[in-house]
Amino acid sequence: MNLAWVVPLFPLCSFVLLLWFGRKWKQTSAYVGIAATLLSLLAAFGVLVSRLGGATYEANWTWMKIGDATLTVGVSVTALNAWMLVVVALVSWLVHIYSQGYMAGDERFSTFYAYLGLFTFAMLGLVLSPNLLQAYMFWELVGLGSFLLIGFYFYKEEAKAAAKKAFIMTRIGDVGFLIGVLLLFWQTKSFDYDDIFRAVGNGTLSPGMTTLTAILIFIGAIGKSGQFPLHTWLPDAMEGPTPVSALIHAATMVAAGVYLVAALFPLYEASAAAMMTVAVIGGGTAVFAATIGLVQTDIKRVLAYSTISQLGYMMLALGSGSYVAAIFHLTTHAFFKALLFLAAGSVIHAVHTQNIEEMGGLWRRLPWTAPLFLVGALSISGVPLFAGFFSKDEILAAAWTNGSVGLFWLAVAAALLTSFYMFRLFFLVFAGEARHRHDGAVHEAPMSMTAPMVVLGVLSVAAGYIQTPWFGSFLGEWLTDGAYHHEAAPGWIAVVAASVSLAGILLAWLMYGKRTVPRDWLSARAPYGYELLRRHYYMDDLYRSTVVALVSSISRLLGYVDRYLVEGLVQFVTGTVNAIAAAGSRGQNGQAQTYGLVAAAGLAMLVVIFALTGGDWL
């Protein structure tokens, strides 16, 4: 375990090597990346296995001293992050393999692998961090990797805009995170998780401050995990290459918000208000995003909204006090959502469009992809015996036993919507007749792409059995060091979950498979509601007309003050004779006297305020 720090180093090496030699190595770059992540994966397994028998491990080195505060860097291996290491390394490795086929022929092939290496390094580093400052640094680096990869197709305007949007939207959350971290530091004089938990335990941190910092940090998680109201960047981020969507925007980075709240769980547990906020935002987002997913026509956007919705589920679990259910769902989701994205990538690879209206009838043409997509869809829909069923059941049970009935029914509704939109997608893409003639033959993807999907397909079923009501709760005991006891949830919850998921599938089949219910049933009956969903509840338009407009108008206003208003004062002083001349010289003849006037006015204002307040400023 004391070698845990090597886990993130392999992808870092891959990044550095590919940055230097990538242009020479070209297609060989893939093997460098794959080998590096394989080594990481093996090391992560090693860490997990040694943690099985051992205790929590932590090592710190002094990084810098500021006054009497010592900042350290280090690694820690707890049950939670040993588990996360394996999940991240595994998905990353599979995506590395898949990309070899998907990205083949791209002229910036090696750059792609270099960025993947950077991202994997940052993500593993984030997971291993023993303190908030280090976590924050890797958190930013993860964002940078995501920025680079979303903008990978930089010649597309949309990709550029999406990359910028993703970076800036998540940054808004990060301000909250940073302020929360600084407040915690101010109160506890430490960034270390353990010190903070101790301070929470012995009351050094007042209840009000606990709530405030927990919520501020949660704002960071909202940004990163695409929760309402900072979710709008995630669907746009689908402009990135599909393997990136699978790795970053489904399995790992977006789950970092959930991981952060889980890692700080003792802080959240200490504040009922913070828990409530997490649960409500999570539950609300789960339903909200699922309804938008109902009407999207871009295959990747449907999956993106589904990701937002599932992340909302995890937040709901955390807010309901079930840490284990959240991590369990995080794990199963990482597998089945990565599978769905990779399968979607394979479909796109075959038909060269992302519009599901132009697909159809692909079941027989894609003999590997189609059944694997079906497995993923069954798993996310929560059909019994698939992984998603067990983890979703666990969350529903947690919400119920926590006593939040409203949130429970919200989650059930989200489950219904999930299975409906997933199977709408499935039937539109794979069933029926081809609705569009595709140029060239539609062909199945190469082995390098199908093999990782098969592995994920197996995991999308098998991962559920680490935590079941029947065989025991291995994951729960592991994460809580044996203190876990399965709360006896009423048996009918599983029945409700299963029937809701089957009902959704049935409805989708009636509408899109058998077509007994007309497809325009909703849009004909509630055209406004339909439009509302199609335009994502107008969230983007709202932001464009409020926040973005506000910032740019402040900017315009200040520029205006700089150039026109102050100049107007000068004109007033020097008389109207100069007015005409001054008007002509607004542009480049930036007036020196204006500058002097501003300085004098500034001085005068300070002196006047001082005189009026008599030295007692505030």
Partner: protein
């Protein structure tokens, strides 16, 4: 008179070196035939600055002392900030050595020695123990800077920049002198330590407050902070790029040196109305905080509308002045340390960025950001270096800018009472600044090539500056301990106040 000659002149070794090199270069420049390249002179000047840097480093172990009737002080503060000033000056001279404007670098010689004279003024500011020396040193720096701004004599923008600089500088000087006259009137001496001692006995809090405000506004000109910030974009845009780099880095550092020397020394223990312990400086915190807040906001918001690289960096430098002023307003016990760290990071990332901008302006003849578009496609290393400097300016972890900003942040929140409003303004303006830094990064990496003619090779001077700054930015970002080791020698500037 005798004791003047018996003074320990060796304390002034760095100043002597700079002065001697400047005078020698001046004579060579006059004697040299017109058509010969002046580039070797710039290299000579850079060498002189490096020698003086070495001499300053050698003086670090010396006990704090003052000579010439207390007008020249060599304490840890002077040593620490001279290191910064000389490093900045040397890098600016490397950029001068690589300077290649389209009308020819006939004035390269003047550039080199005038820059050294300006540097000398900045160094003397750091060592001044007297109002008179302080004023004369600042004027040496400022007057040399006026000429540097107008050095491209055939370019109208450069002339305009020089004229605006002179006018605004003149106003600032007048305001500052006015403030000094109050202090002199109250104490009857010009020695800073003596002033500090006598001010404790006066009971004129209002008169003193007025003097403080006058001095603060006067100094804000050198910092390019609100309300004396408006000259900066015009002057930065019109002046030759190496001069702009010098103004943005060395001049600004000298401004903070002046701020600390003047205001902290004189007013830290001066009486204030209704304060316990009585300190005029502390009672003025709100005024400084307001200026800091406004400076951060204006610097980062107005920059959103700029497309000229030089104007953009000008507004960015205004924003950074705001962050530094916020650090000053916090007045935490480690204030000087954190300002030093910030100025070091600021020096590295700005000098690096200006070196690259200088190359682009020389090659394309314009400073529109189109010149950066798609740079990654044919000059990946150059683009990566500029990307690094921009990330550092934005304060992304892993770069010097992050470490520096972290210090200021911690300074703002650990003091009692904490300055949350300033910390919040800093966080928000930092995010706003991401928009324009990342706009540039998008230009660099995510766009197809704009101009068909690829950039020419970078000269040795510019390359050296870029490499040094990039290494420094990374080193300070990942191993800030290196800088702390230097800082540890100064022991928190315990000998700064008398």
């Amino acid at each position: 008179m005798n004791d003047v000659w018996q003074s320990d002149w060796s304390l002034m070794t760095p100043e002597w070196i700079v002065l001697a090199v400047a005078v020698v270069l001046l004579l060579i420049d006059v004697a040299m035939p017109d058509e010969r390249s002046r580039r070797p002179l710039a290299w000579g000047a850079a060498l002189g600055a490096v020698l003086a840097l070495g001499a300053t480093a050698a003086l670090i172990p010396a006990e704090p002392a003052s000579i010439l009737h207390g007008t020249f002080r060599l304490d840890s503060f002077a040593k620490a900030f001279k290191l910064l000033l000389l490093a900045g000056g040397a890098l600016a001279l490397l950029i001068v050595a690589g300077w290649n404007p389209k009308e020819g670098s006939r004035y390269g010689g003047e550039f080199a020695y005038l820059l050294l004279f300006a540097l000398l003024g900045a160094m003397m500011t750091a060592s001044s123990g007297d109002l008179l020396t302080l004023f004369v040193s600042v004027e040496l720096l400022t007057v040399s800077s006026y000429i540097l701004a107008g050095l491209r004599k055939t370019v109208a923008a450069s002339n305009e920049a020089a004229l605006k600089y002179v006018i605004n500088g003149g106003i600032a000087t007048a305001v500052m002198l006015f403030g000094m006259s109050y202090v002199f009137g109250l104490t009857g001496t010009t020695n800073l330590n003596e002033i500090a001692r006598r001010l404790q006995e006066t009971n004129e809090p209002y008169m003193l407050a007025l003097a403080f405000l006058l001095l603060l506004i006067g100094v804000s000109f050198k910092l390019a902070a609100v309300p004396f910030h408006m000259w900066a974009p015009d002057v930065y845009e019109g002046a030759p790029v190496p001069a702009t780099a010098f103004f943005a880095v060395v001049s600004k550092t000298a401004g903070f040196v002046l701020l600390l020397r003047l205001l902290v020394t004189m007013f830290a223990a001066a009486p204030a109305e209704g304060r316990d312990p009585s300190s005029l400086l502390l009672s003025m915190q709100p005024a400084i905080a307001v200026l800091a807040g406004l400076t951060m906001i204006i610097g980062s918001v107005v920059a959103l509308r700029q497309r000229s690289l030089k104007r953009l960096l000008a507004y960015s430098s205004i924003a950074h002045a705001g962050y530094l002023l916020a650090g000053f307003a916090a007045m935490s016990w480690a204030m000087i340390d954190s300002l030093w760290i910030y100025l070091l990071a600021y020096l590295l990332m700005n000098m690096g960025a200006f070196a690259i901008v200088s190359h682009i302006v020389d090659e394309t003849g314009s400073d529109d950001w189109d010149g950066l578009t798609g740079l990654y496609r044919h000059r990946p290393l150059l683009a990566a270096a500029l990307g690094l400097f921009l990330l550092s300016l934005a304060g992304i972890p892993g770069t010097a800018g992050f470490i520096a900003k972290l210090h200021l942040f911690i300074g703002l929140v650990v003091t009692e009472p904490g300055h949350y409003v300033l910390a919040a303004v800093m966080a928000i303006t930092t995010v706003i600044s991401y928009v324009y830094y990342f706009n540039l990064i998008v230009q660099l990496f995510f766009r197809p090539l704009f101009s068909s003619a690829p950039l020419g090779r970078m000269s040795a001077g510019l390359s050296a500056a870029v490499v040094l700054c990039a290494l420094g930015t990374l080193a300070l970002g990942w191993a800030p301990g290196l800088a702390y080791n230097v800082l540890a020698q100064f022991d928190h500037f315990g000998d700064f106040l008398p």
